[in-house]
């Protein structure tokens, strides 16, 4: 059973409402590119995949039964197309970073910022402490641009997870579903992504 707003959106699309279609495209296109980038090598190919996915959405819209949300369905089309494209491009291990993100340890904070484990009094406690960030600087447009750049610089699977969770505000279930991730792997990718973005902010804000 879909909520009313979702049914209305679907009805508007089927009726040929261009504003409804554009709203949908503007809402999801950027994230679709980032999701496609997990599987295909380049940004340019990911953009093609996202465009192609919209054509797939239009082809399937009349048959879409609403058993999943429209969003889930759209992103399933994206991942399927991206995988097909990856195979065609000869990328044989495009999904490994999703399956086993914990292979290489990536500390959230450089170990040098903590006291050593044999410290007699405070082993593993802060040696170089983080500072409080002034709220007015957090609100600056420049700060959002730093975060955007830091997200862009992440490895593809971390970038896709943090984009869907923190930029788009998806739930963890929705992200696991769209990216075919286990709860644990999703959390590891999110953790690594957020930790790096925090670090970039710290370098900027002090």
């Amino acid at each position: 059973m879909q909520p009313t707003a979702a049914r209305d959106e679907l009805a508007a699309l089927r009726a040929g409402d261009e504003a409804a279609f554009l709203a949908l495209v503007r809402q999801h296109h950027g994230s679709m590119i980032r999701v496609a980038q997990i599987y295909v090598g380049s940004r340019a190919i990911a953009e093609e995949v996202a465009q192609e996915a919209w054509v797939g959405v239009l082809k399937g819209l009349d048959r879409f039964e609403g058993r999943s949300s429209l969003k889930t369905w759209v992103f399933r089309i994206v991942t399927n197309l991206a995988k097909t494209r990856a195979v065609r491009e000869g990328r044989t291990i495009p999904f490994s970073s999703l399956r086993t993100p914990e292979n290489v340890p990536e500390p959230a904070v450089e170990p040098a910022r903590f006291r050593r484990h044999d410290d007699p009094r405070w082993p593993g406690h802060w040696a170089v402490k983080p500072n409080e960030w002034p709220e007015e600087r957090l609100l600056a447009a420049e700060t959002a641009a730093i975060v955007d750049g830091a997200i862009d610089a992440l490895p593809p699977s971390q970038r896709a997870v943090i984009t869907l969770r923190d930029v788009e505000g998806w739930s963890s279930d929705e992200v696991c579903n769209a990216l075919e991730l286990t709860e644990t792997n999703q959390r590891v990718l999110l953790h690594r992504g957020r930790s790096k973005v925090r670090k970039a902010l710290e370098e900027h804000l002090g």
Partner: protein
């Protein structure tokens, strides 16, 4: 800060569990150790607040705009689909 014992969480451990904590994915015991440490450690409170701030700022990032050409192509596809 409390004196570190075998069970007490260190700051270095805490920073690795922040996401699991915020996702409510810690076991009862881990959650208790996390909260006990946090209650006593002003520096880790700052760190957790930095992670929360990071999430808030990410929420203000706007998804990149479509190029006008891409938008025009997609609209044309939509029109011919509905056609």
């Amino acid at each position: 800060m409390t004196e570190t014992t075998a069970e007490a969480m260190s700051c270095q451990e805490l920073v690795e569990l922040v996401t699991a904590y915020l996702e409510d994915a810690l076991s009862g015991e881990e959650r208790r150790r996390f909260q006990d440490h946090l209650a006593d450690c002003a520096t880790c409170q700052v760190y957790v607040e930095q992670i929360r701030a990071t999430i808030r700022v990410a929420g203000r990032v706007t998804a990149e705009d479509l190029s006008p050409e891409a938008e025009r192509d997609l609209l044309a596809a939509f029109r011919s689909w509905h056609g």
